[in-house]
Amino acid sequence: MTAALLEQVVNGLMTGSVYVLVALGMVLIYGVMQVLNFAHGVLFMLGGYLCHFFFTRLTGSYSLALLLTMALLAAIGVALERGVFRPLQGNLRNQVIASLGLILVVENLVIALWGPNALQLRVPATERLVALGELRFPLQHLMIIAVTALVVAALFAFLKYSKLGTALRATSQDRHAAMVVGIPVERLDMASFALGTALAALGGALVGPLFLVFPQMGDAPLVKGLAGILLGGMGSVMGAVLGGLIIGVAESVSTLYLPTDYRDSVAFAIMVLILLARPRGLFGVRVRGEG
């Protein structure tokens, strides 16, 4: 029983890490621009496809493919911010509709380019099995947890100590005040989009070798990442990290006690329970002027 529990905690940390990568990107963009980008799931998926392309067609090096994928998606993020979200600035409803439309555009573009069937992304180096006691995990599985932990640590350091990070935090606390003190908020919009989509791309590129790369691979991470954000508290980076991990671990461990088809319900039941007790989520902040 303890082995099964340990196994499920490790599995949950892996899925949770994937949710965290999606949630972090959405929270960064939401913090700065106050818009929820629902296309984040398809950008995650695009990360998987581009990594497949860079790895199998271009470089043959997985780590290089990861970096190229993140860089290209950061550029795509900037293009989306300038081309789609900035022109709609000030109109939240249209921004949300645009992000929903982007889902269709990206998904069908991917299907047109790569076809509707799942692709295998085989990285021999990370297929190696690692033994933890009597349990065995593919190296890729543990790598997802480790890389996410590193990225989260780096992101916290960036937000806390770098000038750009401080500006991002300032803008997400109060956009107008940030403008008053001379922070170029529009450039920060671009930066948040670049960073956010790069994180989503990293998620897709990390998950690809473990599972498959297919057009719907971002659907579940989007919904669970969103649940993680709500659970952790809208706009809180720490909340997104903890929320994503809690949902991942809870749904994995629940399968030991409940039928596995209830696993999604467990994730959302936990979200509802926490929101009942703390309506703003775990780390939600009271925003001035709001109820």
Binding site: M1, P116, L135, A220, T255, L256, P259, T260, D261, D264
Partner: protein, 384 residues
Amino acid sequence: MHRAFIVILFAALGALATPAVAQDKVAIGIVTSLTGPMAPPGKFQMNGFNLAADEINAAGGVAVGAHRYRIELKVYDTRANPAEGASAMQRLATVDKVPVVLGELHSGVAAAEAPVAQDYGVPLILTVPTGPNLTEQGNPFLFRVNASNDQLNLALAEFIKQRGWFPLSFIAWNNDAGRGGVNGMKKLLGEDKTGYVGYFNVGDVDFSSHIANIRAAGARAVMLFMDEEPGSLAIKQIRDAGLKTQLIGTLAMGSDRFLKRLDAGRLEGMVQYNAFPPNANTPRIRSFSERYRKKFGEEAHGFAAQSYDGLMMVAAAMQKSGTVTDGKALRDALAGMEHDGVIGRIRFDAKGQAHPPVYVTQWCANGTRRILYPDNLKADCGAG
């Protein structure tokens, strides 16, 4: 003398001209998936139809009375979508006016097409869908060449009983096919023989929670009710997690194509039910597999063999009934027919269901397969 010469000359000219001039065409409706999630199995189905049509046409077409008809396939892409299936069926019956329709891959789509076939009196011959309910609707115009899930499960259950692989755990689609399959097996084997049962949703790729549960339940064997894609992921994850339990798979997991997704090491020892072992040492199967490989450059597939047999039966029914237009007469001809097909002897029962042999094959260490069941067709590695 002179007169006789002219008669002979005309007769000779006539004979030369017959294949070119007097040969008519008959269009036969095909419903399949050319795009969408079922496109890969759809390709096997179409290969079977194309091979049959080419062979019939190369032999001069179908002889009905004094006429010879070239077969022309009128293909509609139903994209695993019931609405598309029903409208394609309607179009084939009313616009294209075909006398008979074959094909389909998806049981849900077939269920939408069958009533339309009955309404217009056009026989619909299924060659791939396995949903057991399809032939239980009292529809006299519906036939099925391939074995249904009930028939496949019956054979597999008998095999599992022989081996005593209990408790048996399941990982299955969370849909009609998966739940129906699990319930069918439970009924055949007895509730007390089952271990852990886990369902996953279409699109799920992470089977880790099922694996932890199977390990905890101490299952002797695990049955995977799913198709190729999740199947390859589940097997990879089960073996990577170090779970050494006996694996039992479905139709989709006994082909070279499936081997390409994984590797022989992970598959070794796994068994699966199978409607068509392409390498079996039976003359009809060997000859079909050779012709198939020559035309398409790959290993023959059960879906192709079933579809090939379906179209061959239609040609035979046309010959037997003497019509290429009357759907009702073709239905009656099909109902009473016995056909020695590639997959075995095909005879439709009162419900329109055929009873071809069902095999259980096993993966060998070198990536070939052996036949373990039925006992009279047992064959060693390389023959499955």
